[in-house]
Symmetry: C2
Subunit: 368 residues, 2 copies
């Protein structure tokens, strides 16, 4: 099955009139090789695929493991005896156009390549990852399940006097206890902090925010789980104390906006129509604006898998079409500076009949 | 003091006839701002320095913290209202030559820059980091101290039947217990595995290697600590069971080679001579070859600080000169494929009188 992925790259090369591609991003390398031990921080490997070859380039540290686990890729061991340049020299004559990952390859690496290859262009291997297999979807579901349990757990832990950082710590410990890790640093925002979509979790303390002490305080929780290399992502907004009518209306508007996006996809699917990612974004976005709230300052959603953010993008500028097997978030939000924000995010998979939700934490307005 | 670092960048710009530099590597950003919260995996900030400006470019997540902690840099908040392009447009006329970090900036980022700046070249901000302040040296010493304690601890834990991975786990837990983390994934290599300089720690079990069960088994431990953002790094090779005479000779040769490199630096310093990093490498390297062993398949040493590997490089091709305040490793090794390897690594700081060792774990041939 992993071997099929290499074939798909070759088909893509053919389609895009590119003679070979040098894959450098660690997640694309993981996707094509199934090998998960390479560092995310340092460049430890490349995959180099052409019409009649498919190499994995790495060093002696990984030789044994690669030979055992990735037999369908030809191992090129670089080291003090052989350099990657030797490999490029061997193939450069056959390669007119070389594909690279422009958003990953460094300028220094590009310089070296340009000594061997005259024509270099961007080649988006990551596109292949947007459509998930059943096995991949099931891994994402497992991560979502742990996320749901973590949400259930954290609701019981949240109490007067707790800080944002403490909530994060509790979440991280719970998730670790399930044999998983967080898929990104959790965002926990209390009160006005929630008006910053990507608030940096800090030392803010939960407690009555207004002088009367009777108003509800927003608690925005955005976190995900990484289990068996696959990620989940979910946002819930709950209230500490009774929400004001303003807060309630914000909450209901965001929830409605999300529902409208989901309904749109499902109706279109039933009608046999193609669904553009940008259209889904527009449905949710327009609804929030129609209720006199500011426009969502981020995309409506993003694909997820080996990485928290991958194809497809559900944003106004997206050119992508939703396809069966895509897994993505739908996460509208309203953010009022100085007041607070509400975001609700779920993961969904696009299937034959329409969308199926993978995160199952409850969304009824919750007061702690 | 951090402000002085910005001044040094400006002096460097002047010297290298570069009008501005866009710093993108997270460790250089940390070095120049003192701000340690940016992700190592995602691009969350840049520092943009010219003759009469010094910006830190980041998003709303970090606005508050940056304003509070880094007042001497002008905050440019990029987001859905303002893009980095606006900032480039404002300054592009004054900038003929823009410096970038070629080994960090991506091809996609370079493309955007090239729309604003005609002449772009490599600018090695990381060079500034090679000479450490007293405060930085003291932080590295603290990391070394924890590393020494971890080595003492692990010697007691190593026993028949333990796996390489278990040793790593014990090391990591011990270091975490000291409020620190490992500075890189520890390398633990048993027996023949030690002949691979950067062996990938695996499931190999400690136990009598030869059929007679009377020969010593090599245990190579290469690990470091990160404490208060600064790293340590150390390698020790010990024996499980009585070493063979071949193993003993290898061990003594490596130890001698390290000592000869240290002596060389110290003698030259006393004589008031400048010491080239490449010469130090040569002393250790030549000694090992003179004893009829294969050449060291890696550099003799590397600078260390915020990162495990930074300037200076002690390698045959290095053009660097040792200067007061530099902290680096000296780590000769002998690796015999199919037999095993020995490496001994210490961190040293180059001071007025010569080298002072920062790692203090014992190096007498140790049998467990």
């Amino acid at each position: 099955m992993l071997k099929d992925r290499i074939e798909k790259v070759k088909q893509m090369l053919n389609k895009e009139k590119t003679d070979a591609v040098l894959v450098s991003s660690v997640f694309n390398i993981t996707y094509l090789s199934g090998f998960t031990n390479f560092s995310e921080k340092e460049r430890e490997a490349y995959i180099f695929i052409g019409k009649d070859f498919a190499y994995i380039i790495t060093d002696e540290r990984y030789t044994e493991a690669i030979k055992r686990q990735v037999p369908y890729l030809t191992l090129f061991e670089r080291g003090h005896k052989k350099s990657t340049k030797d490999l490029f020299k061997k193939h450069q004559k056959k390669i007119k156009w070389l594909g690279i990952e422009e958003d990953n390859l460094t300028v220094a690496e590009h310089k070296i390549l340009s000594r061997h290859f005259k024509k270099i262009k961007h080649f988006d291997v990551g596109n292949l990852r947007s459509i998930k297999t059943k096995e991949e979807i099931s891994k994402i579901e497992k991560a979502c399940k742990i996320g749901d349990l973590a949400f259930e757990f954290i609701l019981k832990k949240i109490e007067n006097g707790i800080s944002e950082k403490q909530v994060v710590e509790e979440l991280e410990n719970f998730i670790r206890g399930k044999g998983a890790v967080v898929s990104f640093p959790p965002i926990v925002a209390f009160g006005k902090n929630s008006s910053i979509p990507h608030h940096q979790t800090g030392d803010s303390i939960l407690g009555p925010e207004s002088s009367s002490g009777r108003e509800g305080q927003i608690i925005l929780l955005d976190f995900g789980v990484k289990y068996d290399d696959y990620c989940s992502d979910m946002t819930r907004t709950v209230f500490f104390g009774k929400p004001t009518s303003q807060q309630k209306t914000m909450y209901e508007t965001v929830l409605q906006s999300q529902q409208k996006a989901v309904d749109f996809v499902n109706s279109a699917t039933v009608a046999g129509k193609e669904v553009k990612a940008a259209e889904v974004d527009k449905v949710a976005r327009d609804y929030i604006i129609s209720r006199k709230y500011p426009a969502i300052p981020h995309s409506l959603g993003h694909g997820i898998g080996l990485e928290v953010h991958e194809h497809p993008s559900l944003s106004p500028k997206s050119k992508e079409i939703l396809k069966e097997g895509m897994v993505f978030s739908i996460e509208p939000g309203i953010y009022l500076p100085g007041i607070g924000g509400v975001r609700i995010e779920d993961l969904l998979v696009f299937e034959k009949g329409g969308l199926r939700q993978l995160t199952h934490s409850q969304k009824k307005l919750t007061v702690i």
